[in-house]
């Protein structure tokens, strides 16, 4: 099975470890990713604060390119994923948007019908691959790891998961890797997004709330599915520890890094060393011991 891959700006920048691990895990599962040629920024949640039509046009160009490529479109960043879905939805529902944006596309020789399926890699693992098949591929179970799942906002809002799936159902990928699932009620609470860089005190407060809860639940790792959540939750830990005087340090790997470890993919291909808060040695060594046994 092959998919068109929409990296988004983060995956080519500060989240290259996330991208490396997505490629490694997809390849190990026999899934091919082909990067969308000529893709542009989706507009994120920022461009729309200045101009809505232009913001939707940015996303629409990517959708038109993806439609031409003919495969389902995979976006591993929750913001890109949501923005592409929202653009598809709004173009279907609002004639006045279609009347503005479709002519702009045809001006540059692009055509859009609204057919492309927009997917998140976690959703592909849960729906297309399935927990059972994933479990069968595990070579080094993450025995003894207590993992809290954190999905962020935009994977399920404003558009719910397709196929009747829920986030609680998605949690099943953690026990499938041999790890212990930590019940984590803040799994879809906002990490603050870009506020950590603009209105810092509030952004950091939102990060703190999530880290503190993970710590209180004795999680060894807080697993993320969005490069922006991933960066937010790990990059500000030292500052938050200083400001709040509380040890909230917890590793925040991207989900395909953990899946990759369990599948026996070498750490180097998963960008484990690129994490700002490393996975403690005793955990990663536990993985190796299991393999030797």
């Amino acid at each position: 099975m092959a998919y068109t891959y929409f990296p988004g700006c983060s995956m080519h920048g500060f989240a290259r470890h996330c991208q490396d691990s997505v490629y490694a895990v997809f390849s190990a599962l026999g899934l091919e990713l082909r990067e969308l040629e000529g893709w542009n920024c989706c507009g994120a949640t920022t461009y729309i604060s200045i101009d809505e039509n232009q913001a939707l046009t940015l996303a629409a160009r990517n959708l038109a390119l993806a439609e031409r490529a003919g495969l389902e479109l995979v976006a591993p960043c929750n913001a890109c994923f949501m923005v592409l879905k929202k653009t598809q939805d709004y173009l279907a529902r609002y004639g006045e948007l279609r009347d503005k944006i479709l002519p702009a596309l045809s001006k540059v020789g692009l055509h859009y019908e609204g057919k492309v399926a927009i997917r998140h890699p976690l959703e592909i693992l849960m729906r297309d691959v399935g927990v059972k098949a994933l479990k069968e591929k595990v070579k080094r179970p993450l025995t003894g790891w207590k993992i809290a799942p954190y999905y962020g906002c935009l994977l399920t809002r404003p558009y719910p998961l397709e196929g009747g799936f829920t986030l609680d159902g998605f949690d099943a990928f953690i026990p499938a890797l041999g790890a212990t699932l930590v019940d984590f009620e803040l799994k879809d609470r906002c990490c603050g997004g870009s506020l950590t860089g603009t209105i810092e005190e509030v952004g950091e407060r939102l990060v703190y709330i999530i880290l503190e809860q993970a710590k209180r639940a004795h999680a060894d790792a807080l697993v993320t599915v969005c490069p922006l959540c991933q960066l937010n939750l790990e990059a500000h830990q030292s500052k938050i520890i200083r400001r709040y005087g509380e040890d909230v340090r917890v590793p925040v790997p991207y989900f395909t890094q953990l899946i990759g470890l369990a599948l026996g993919i070498p750490e180097k291909l998963l960008g484990m060393k690129r994490l700002l808060v490393p996975i403690p040695r005793e955990l990663s060594e536990g993985v190796r011991v299991t393999q030797a046994a």
Partner: protein
């Protein structure tokens, strides 16, 4: 000291009805007049503890024509677009889209403190996308700091260094995806250029 009370009564000629018209013309904001004022949006909002007016109050202000008060509110800049309000609103109002619309109006009319980071970031982001078609977080942060709080560079560099040492800072754009093509498209749909 005695408090001063300021009654917020406005008479018809002072109200700005164009605001509610603009919000209703925004995709997602059509149903703003059906707001029940139930407060579910503010209850669900993770930012409301830090807001001066909750989303419910902002919608009330929009409906009643309190334009200046609405776009001068700090609350609109706190919206992180998490869509909690939008999925929970019993009246089907896409509150997040209403918040975006209020930000757009405030930016268009220049109603924000000089060097205030949220609109500065939005403008830098837009310029970068118009230039290369993609954003580069490193330069975006540098530009944001230069235009809002250059002194913060003194405290931000350690994080930059840690990212750099782990190969997570890219100094150049990852490609020039039809920049001219993109600009041509954006110009033809722009509400404002």
């Amino acid at each position: 000291m005695n408090p001063t009370f300021q009654p917020r009564v406005k008479y018809q000629k002072e109200l700005k009805r164009d605001l509610v018209a603009e919000i209703r013309a925004t995709p997602g904001g059509e149903k703003v007049l059906s707001c029940l004022q139930c407060g579910t949006c503010g209850g669900a909002c993770p930012m409301s503890p830090y807001m001066d007016e909750t989303p419910r109050q902002l919608i009330g202000m929009v409906r009643e024509g309190f334009k200046q008060e609405a776009i001068e509110s700090f609350s609109i800049w706190l919206c992180a677009s998490c869509y909690e309000c939008t999925v929970r609103c019993p009246a089907g109002i896409h509150v997040t889209d209403v918040m975006y619309a209020l930000k757009r109006i405030a930016i268009r009319e220049g109603i924000y403190p000089k060097r205030f980071p949220v609109p500065v970031l939005a403008k830098e982001f837009m310029d970068m996308v118009k230039g290369t078609g993609r954003t580069n977080e490193f330069w975006l942060v540098i530009k944001l700091l230069l235009k809002t709080a250059p002194l913060k560079m003194l405290t931000s560099w350690p994080l930059g260094l840690r990212l750099w040492m782990r190969g997570r800072l890219r100094l150049t754009s990852s490609g020039k995806p039809a920049g001219a093509e993109l600009r041509q498209m954006l110009e033809s749909v722009g509400e404002r250029n």
